[in-house]
């Protein structure tokens, strides 16, 4: 089956959760023998693109939605433009498309248009895959930004309508969590499967681990915070760790990996300003790094933190933390989709700031049992492999059967 996979971000070098999920779906489908054409209609904020991707400037997108944090909706509005339609048409060519995988609802308008106007799309099946209920996520993101309530509501309504229409039209909806699945069904979806987010199996290189150890130093301890520049990551960080990181000792750090490194300062609450020197002496913002070094950092962390307090979908970083076999402190929101975390060792789920901090301190100052070799029994090891992509996306190997269900 020839499959078209559409998303609003490139997957050439997948870094954030959405990119990784799309890339992994593509890999599973390809491993099942399908031909997968991936096209990203993307903002220019990423660094690596494929030839099949279309970049859209912020100036262009700015014409569609004025509110911040709404580039995806703007892309949606822009997706029926000639530029986008002709780009997709050109990449797909004349051969017919059997299935269109639409990652998130944003590009549904363009698919709808193509089905009506492009013979290659005639009779194709639609799969709607999303790791969020987008209108809810957007509402949460915008509600505390001192924005006009009306304009926020307008955006939220627009996204909700988009999602409802897609749910009703899709032959299959791939949800990330059971809760999301129910939500999709309530929006009209008739055929929903749940494929939680997952992570790749980690394999830190010995040399890299050794280098990490040298850099960190003997007495230093660190908590690892991996996150994208997704605002709930930064908000959650300050909510759960507090305005002042003076509770950490001078030899304790938080190493931030990923896009969240760049937005932590912006999202710091006003009350944290007076503690700026203390806080940012403790926080080491690393930004984007190789997966090899990330694996080594995961392997050597005293604790991995997942402090996100809101936002939809399941958190890939949580899955990464589960898979790492290192101690984890996470919020309830971060554990969405991982209902079994209660059965894991050294995995604290906290709902309050003080609880979160205390748990972090416990692991930072406790005995350090480093090493990637699982120290847990078979049952727990088996639980931890459930978060890997090979397990979470296994259903999609036989997507055709799913579509016919």
């Amino acid at each position: 089956v020839r499959i078209l996979q559409l998303a609003t971000y490139p997957i050439k070098e997948p870094l954030h959760g959405g990119q990784i999920r799309v890339a992994e779906i593509k890999r599973v489908l390809e491993q099942a023998g399908h031909e997968v054409i991936n096209i990203a209609i993307s903002e220019e904020t990423h660094s690596q693109y494929s030839d099949t991707d279309l970049l859209v400037s912020s100036e262009v997108l700015g014409q569609f939605v004025e509110l911040p944090f709404c580039g995806d909706l703007a892309t949606s509005n822009y997706s029926t433009s000639d530029t986008v339609i002709s780009h997709i048409t050109q990449v797909v060519g004349a051969d017919s498309v059997g299935v269109v995988f639409i990652e998130q609802p944003w590009l549904w308008p363009s698919v709808k248009y193509l089905c009506d106007h492009n013979p290659a799309f005639s009779g194709c099946k639609f799969v709607y895959s999303s790791q969020n209920i987008e209108y809810k996520s957007k509402e949460l993101l915008l509600e505390n930004r001192k924005l006009s309530r009306n304009s926020v509501q307008k955006v939220v309504d627009e996204i909700e309508n988009l999602e409802i229409e897609l749910c009703r039209s899709a032959d299959l909806v791939v949800a990330c969590t059971d809760i999301d699945a129910l939500e999709f069904e309530s929006m009209g979806a008739s055929n929903v499967v749940v494929c939680p987010n997952g992570v790749r199996a980690m394999n830190p290189a010995t040399d890299t681990v050794r280098m990490i150890q040298e850099v960190i130093g003997g007495e230093a301890r660190y908590a690892l915070f991996v996150g994208s520049a997704y605002p709930p990551n930064a908000d959650g960080f300050w909510s759960m760790l507090g305005d002042s990181l003076a509770w950490m000792k001078p030899n304790e750090h938080i190493i931030c990996v990923g896009g969240v490194s760049d937005i932590l300062a912006d999202f710091a609450p006003a009350a944290a300003e007076k503690n700026e020197y203390i806080n940012f002496d403790r926080i080491k913002r690393l930004g984007f790094i190789s997966t090899g070094v990330l694996d080594a950092l995961l392997d050597q962390a005293s604790v991995i933190i997942c402090p996100i307090t809101y936002g939809g979908g399941s958190n890939l970083k949580t899955a990464e933390a589960i898979s790492s076999c290192r101690p984890v402190v996470a919020t309830e929101a971060a554990c969405r989709g991982f209902d079994f975390v209660g059965d894991l060792s050294d995995f604290d789920v906290c709902s309050a700031e003080s609880e979160f901090r205390e748990s972090m301190k416990k692991f930072l100052r406790g005995r350090q049992d480093y090493g990637s070799v699982p120290k847990y029994g078979l049952t727990e090891s088996s639980l931890r492999t459930k978060v890997q992509w090979s397990y979470t996306l296994a259903q999609l190997s036989d997507v055709y059967s799913l579509l016919c269900a």
């Binding site: 580039g71 003076a246 509770w247």
Partner: protein, 811 residues
Amino acid sequence: MSIISYAQNFEDVMLWRALKHVKCGFYIDVGANDPVIDSVTKLFYDSGWRGINVEPDEQWFLKLEAERPRDINLQCAAADYDGELNFYVLPNTGLSTSNKTIAERHEHERNYTKQIQTVSARTLTEICEQYNTSSIHFLKVDVEGAEKAVLDGLDLQMVRPWIVIVEATRPNSQEDDYVSWEPGLLSSNYKFVYFDGLNRFYLAAEHNELADCFNLPPNIWDDFVLYNMIKRGELGVQAVECFAVLQERQAQLDTCIEVANNRQDQLDNSRKLVEEKQGQLEASVKSAEDKQRQLVESQKIAHVNRGLAQRRRRLLVDVSTLLRWDRPVVGIVRAQLELVRYVFNRVPVSTFVAFNGERDCISIVSKEEVARLITKIDSCEYLAENEDESVTKGGLVVERLKSKLADGEELGVGSTSIRFLGLLYAKFIAPWLPIRVKFLLQMLRLGRFRELSRLALSKLINRRVVFGQTKGDGEEGSAEAYDDAGSIRKLNEVMCEPHALLAKKHPPLGFTPEDIYISIGLDWDHSNYPLLYKLKKTIGFKVVGAFYDAIPVVRPDLVQSSDFSKMFSNYIYMLVNMADSVFCISNFSKGQLEKIIDKDYECSPELRTIYLGDDLQVSDEYHEFPSRPHGERYALYVSTIEVRKNHQLLVDTWVRLWEKYGDAAPDLVLVGMIGWGVENTIHNLHKSGLLDKKIFIYSNVSDGELHNLYEKSLFCVFPSLMEGWGLGAVEALKYGKVCLISSCAALSEATQRLVPVLDEQSADVWVKKISEILDQPGYLEVLEGSVAKGFESKAWTQFATEFVEFVREEH
């Protein structure tokens, strides 16, 4: 066997001598009286005799009846006729008689009362006939003067008693009275044989063989004992019995006494025991006290040992602040100076250390250099050094300002002009606050600037974010971000601890794990705590720090620099994380630090409040004080001139005092460096026209001159908005001066609650209080009296001693 004589005058003895051979003889006792006492017949009755007792007195008769059952007891009077007669009874005596005359005489002479009884009268002859007495061995007649009638009533021819014994004297006298009746006896063939002084004995002629029995009076050969004696003996027996009882009682008493004694003994023993126990207890207490003393001694020894250990554990005293200080020492610098002086003089195993100007290296400062430093400060060399900087020796700080003003430079009205700020900063603030600039340079050197600039740039870069997806600093676009080598390099950069590198690059020579590093200076400006922290972690020495106040954190508005506030927060963070113990200058400050620690921090260094000293080190070698323009009556405020010190309130106050009192208002002398945030105050002061007229500002004042200023001041003021202690206020009290203070808790603590506390926000309140001082004679003296009475001064040496003890206790 001895006989018992009951008779009054041994009559029975004499009779017994004559008649003892007669068994069961017979007697007639006329006037028998008592059957025992004084009885002539009792001896015989007891010997088996019997007889007739004639006794008209019923009292005796009844007794006779009772005790002489064998006898014939007749209640009648023996007379010379049978019939009745009047009997005169004298109760309870043997003197009753039928003779009225005698009875009356007794009555008269002895105050007896006679009772007249009519009794039967019988002749002895008739009685003897009645009872057919065949043989009468003796007849005794004792009838108190009626003897003749008795004898007349006896026919001696018919009745022949062997022996007749008759009382022969008048009653109760020795006067013979036998003349009337003796002839009848003699004529009846009776022979007088014996007179015993009371009775006359007559022996019937037919028994003349008994006559010899009356040759001698009673004597020992009669072998008799007197009843009275026996009675006495009985009494004696009774007495003996009583005595025995007494003895028994005595014995009982003795027993009781013994018991009591035993008890007493027991008591004594108990007491002794108690005393012993008491002794033991006292011994125990003493022992406990001894042990306590031993413990104290042990502790002292331990303390000494610790001290010895301490001496082995060298004190590393940081002098970084002092080395860079070129102005009069006040507050924190004073504390550091005095500690350094103490350690220099009294702690042999000590070393002085300091950071270099760049604060990237710490090294040892020689003792010679420290000695020179102390001398330099004590001799006020900095004053001479600063002359080159146009700050005249003790001159007016604002001279230059004034000259600039005189040159026509304008001050902004209502707000400070940039030119004015520039002037202040360049001439006055910058020289004293070079650290701000140095800090930034230091950040650059230490890699911090990169972090700061990164933060700042990040905010600018992030402005590019329009639709919620941030790009960060563009690293995502860098190819090296995705390979391991590039990522490790990034990690190296981010995790880079320049202090760790410096610690490796410039390890302090000779530091050991046994050392105790002490730093109590302006460490946020002159020390490098991150580097020190690394060194401590590496080498293992102890660190003792100081906490003066949290003002930059608690009231950042008072330091007018958010950057400094953040830096100070970081300084406190490092201090409490690095120091093993921290000395605080007041309980107020200690409380502030405890709050900060409780709120956020995960460490608990030992905190101790040690009050600062208050004596000024006045050098004898520096007497010459510059001529000052202020008047003789002035109030003094010794404090850095900065917004926190609230000089503005004093300007407002003095403006009103000037309006109220004119020239009579006291001057206001402000001693201290000009710090930050006072541009408006200086401007207002200049505008008021009081500068150099009523209000004078002096800087670079030596301790000697300050001493002089304190002594001559009228009173002192300290209206500061926030303090950790308030050394200037304490020094004022040291000089016996009243210091009007603000309501800062630390100021009240420092001044021992001896001075008026005024609202630091209200000039009216200050004007009112100062007016009271000026207007009310004696009021100032009363306030000064409280200070003189209550203020407890503390020498700086004491402060340093306590500090070093604190260090030794804790380590």
